[in-house]
């Protein structure tokens, strides 16, 4: 047992760190540090920088442009990009539909889609959830009927993250209404420019517009856009659920946010001294820091097992639950640290380019919205209740 990086891994870490220092645009870094809203262009710019360096296809086979990293290298990359204020990689192309196409797609689909996913020339979104379905994903109602070389799609998807930016959407649709729930579902790729698609933003409690409803009204999709066999979409979806999930731990990003808690608590005053000198507040930070260590060390055990060739199991559920709890606990500490200045809601201060002086400290404006927004973390992506159920069934055999 050993927690030290090998010299090669140290070199790799230094290389990643230096690359971020040299190439992450300063305006993006500033927005990240202040928790401000990122534009589509911010994501794409950063992803293209990584693409140019050959670091976009993490987890992809080398033949499709993957960087051929060991599990430890992937861990390091996640950690350093999280610590280094880099924007999240938008996962829908790279981590979701990409691996699906690699595993199930035709050669034509691979040629058409993979290069543009890697180069971030095409923005994807995910059409899984539907109104009324909640955690019961398989109860979806959007239907696709074959008609003359096309599927005609009708229905509605919801909670579609950043659909307003998307060029393509991958969807689960019902292609056999007579079949039992999980059967009769197919996996379709749909060009968002196809007539009949309408995107309507859902405003979230923090005032954000990250998620959308997507309506399909007689949308004609070429049958060539089916991935995997018809009515086997559930198998494809399950493959995705089981696919490389250690990145959901977001350890680097949480370490970065926890450091932000400490910085803010060092700047905020209480009884004439920095708040961070309050023993109780220090201990609350310590609790989250310890929980984050436990997440990190458990992740490292999984990474080590992967290095030894063991396939990841249902540990993803463990990581999902604890990672989101840690993230949410950090957002609570941020709100607590800022005291009364959690209250002002100055919408313009949440985007870059606002020229008025801040209300309170400049880091204050985004903290309460960040807390509110992050309540979603334990709901989306398989709610933590669903994850506990998975552990009970898959691990405990209940």
């Amino acid at each position: 047992m050993d927690l030290e990086l090998s010299p090669q891994d140290v070199a790799f870490r230094d290389e990643v760190r230096q690359f971020i220092a040299d190439h992450l645009p300063q305006d993006i870094r500033d927005k990240m540090r202040l928790g401000q809203h990122l534009e589509k262009d911010d994501y794409v710019r950063w992803q293209k920088i990584l693409y140019k360096r050959g670091w976009m296809g993490v987890g992809w086979p080398t033949e499709h442009g993957g960087p051929d990293w060991s599990p430890v290298q992937r861990y390091i990359f996640e950690e350093e990009t999280g610590l280094g204020d880099c924007p999240r990689i938008i996962p829908f192309g790279l981590r979701m539909v990409g691996p699906v196409i690699i595993a199930f797609g035709t050669d034509e689909q691979k040629q058409q889609h993979l290069p543009k996913i890697l180069s971030s020339d095409v923005w994807w979104c995910q059409g899984y959830s539907e109104p009324g379905a909640g955690s019961d994903l398989a109860s979806l109602k959007t239907r696709a009927v074959r008609d003359n070389g096309h599927y005609v799609v009708n229905g509605q998807k919801t909670w579609t993250t950043l659909a307003q930016y998307a060029d393509w959407i991958f969807c689960l649709v019902r292609t056999d209404e007579s079949a039992k729930k999980q059967e009769g579902i197919s996996f379709l790729l749909i060009d968002m420019k196809t007539p009949g698609i309408t995107v309507k933003p859902i405003v979230t409690l923090d005032g954000g517009r990250e998620v959308n409803e997507v309506f399909f009204d007689d949308v004609r999709v070429p049958v060539e856009n089916l991935v995997g066999p018809e009515n086997q979409g559930w198998t494809v979806a399950k493959f995705l659920l089981g696919h490389e999930r250690t990145n959901i731990a977001e350890v680097g990003r949480s370490k970065n946010q926890l450091a932000r808690v400490k910085e803010i608590a060092a700047a905020e005053m209480q009884n004439g001294a920095p708040l961070i000198e309050d023993p109780r507040f220090r201990e609350k930070i310590a609790d989250v820091e310890i929980d984050l260590m436990a997440l990190d060390m458990t992740l490292l055990r999984i990474v080590s097992a992967e290095s030894a060739g063991r396939a990841p199991g249902p540990e993803a559920s463990l990581l999902k639950i604890r990672a989101t709890e840690v993230q949410q606990a950090i957002t609570e500490l941020l709100v607590e640290a800022i005291g009364y200045y959690a209250n002002p809601y100055v919408k313009d201060a949440m985007s870059a380019g606002w020229n008025e002086p801040p209300v309170g400290p400049d880091y204050a404006a985004t903290l309460a919205p960040y807390y509110f927004n992050h309540r979603k973390a334990s709901i989306y992506g398989g709610s933590n209740e669903v994850q506990r159920g998975i552990i009970a069934k898959m691990v405990l055999g209940f």
Binding site: L205, L275, V335, A342, P344, Y345, G360, Y371, K376, I379
Partner: protein
């Protein structure tokens, strides 16, 4: 001992509940918070007409002879309806200070619904310490010259008067030497930078740059403001706990309804044992929060400082801790719907979250309570 509402108190709450049911549906609230002022003057006049603005004040002061309990009960009902009109700030806090200081002239305007008030008790460096006052009040002739920055002053954009603590003596963070002044926001040197709050209310940064006031601007004696501030904060805390209890009541009821009507895997969510047990916990939290809020109300009207302070701090700690659980759990059990702006539940959640920051959060009051508690057998 009768720890239940009197018939009169019940009638008062019923009338507030009826007002909300009739005139204050959620879309109406949404339209109010989108206005410049952020609430309705018409409603405020109605409150005056119904006597709600004068409820806590004695008849000698032009009020209706109720007390803090009645004001708390109004706020509990306001919490249930998520009412944004600034009853807490104008009546309980501002009116409370005027009443303690015997400023019946201004109080009459409050009771009539003609005057809004704000209280600038926080400063950028003060956090929750009411005695951490850096704003200075320098004697100038018979009056004072006031300079300082008051942070996140609720209701200041609408206030006809802003009450501010300023230091006329003593060292920073000392209770001694703090004086209370009534400031006219239109006076020279006052700047009020208003903004909405995350829970749909209005507040402002108030800068006082050498503001000149006369001796009549002083509330209470010079340097003797702190006891008024602390008493008012404890009373406001009790009333705020009532509002929180009301917010929780609606959150629990809404979540209960949602779980009963929403199906998943072919059965209503209310049939899932995990959600049943978690809802049972929320039910207990909201019941006990109401008990604690009422206790704080009753004690806040009493003379004994320690009993009042312990009760207020215990209630605020409890409501802060359990309110966080109720809020987060209600959102979680609503699933994706819980995080939309469209659903009322998310607005209740935001209000409940922000209540914890007012007059000191749960950690602040836990410590205050612990420091007020002896090792004696009284619990």
């Amino acid at each position: 001992m009768q720890f239940a509402l009197t018939d009169e108190q019940r009638m008062l709450q019923d009338s507030v509940d009826r007002f909300i049911e009739r005139d204050y549906d959620f879309e109406h609230r949404r339209s109010l918070i989108a206005t410049d002022e952020g609430f309705s003057d018409t409603h405020w006049k109605t409150f005056a007409d119904l006597g709600w603005l004068g409820v806590p004040f004695s008849e000698e002061q032009g009020g209706y002879g109720g007390g803090l309990v009645e004001a708390g009960l109004i706020l509990e009902a306001f919490g249930r309806g998520l009412v944004v009109e600034p009853y807490l700030w104008t009546v309980v806090v501002g009116g409370g200070l005027l009443s303690l200081a015997g400023r019946d002239d201004l109080l009459a305007e409050v009771i009539a619904g003609d005057l809004h008030l704000a209280f600038g008790f926080a400063e950028p460096q003060s956090r929750f310490d009411l005695a951490d006052v850096a704003t200075r009040g320098e004697k100038q002739g018979s009056g004072y010259r006031i300079t300082g920055h008051k942070a996140v002053v609720f209701n200041a954009p609408s206030a006809g008067r802003i009450i501010v603590p300023a230091r006329t003596g003593g060292a920073q963070r000392e209770a001694e030497g703090i004086s209370l002044f009534v400031i006219d926001p239109s006076a020279d040197g006052v700047s009020v930078r208003g903004y909405p709050t995350v829970d749909g209310l209005r507040a402002a940064e108030v800068e006082l740059d050498g503001v000149m006031v006369g001796a009549d601007a002083l509330l209470g004696g010079e340097g003797e403001g702190y006891p008024l501030i602390e008493t008012t904060a404890d009373r406001a805390t009790a009333a705020l706990c009532c509002e929180a209890a009301g917010v929780m009541q609606t959150m629990v009821a809404s979540t209960q309804d949602y779980l009963k009507t929403r199906n998943q895997f072919g059965v209503p969510l209310s049939k899932f044992q995990v959600l049943q047990h978690r809802m049972a916990e929320l039910f207990i939290h909201k019941e006990q929060s109401q008990s604690m809020a009422y206790m704080a109300l009753v004690r806040a009207g009493q003379e004994d400082r320690v009993a009042r302070a312990r009760a207020a701090s215990a209630a605020k700690t409890f409501v802060g801790d359990k309110g966080r659980i109720v809020g987060q759990e209600a959102i979680q059990m609503h699933g994706g719907m819980g995080v939309t702006d469209e659903m009322p539940i998310s607005h209740y959640f935001k209000r409940l979250t922000m209540i914890d920051t007012l007059f000191g959060n749960a950690d602040f009051h836990r410590r205050r309570f612990a420091n007020l508690s002896g090792t004696a057998r009284a619990a």
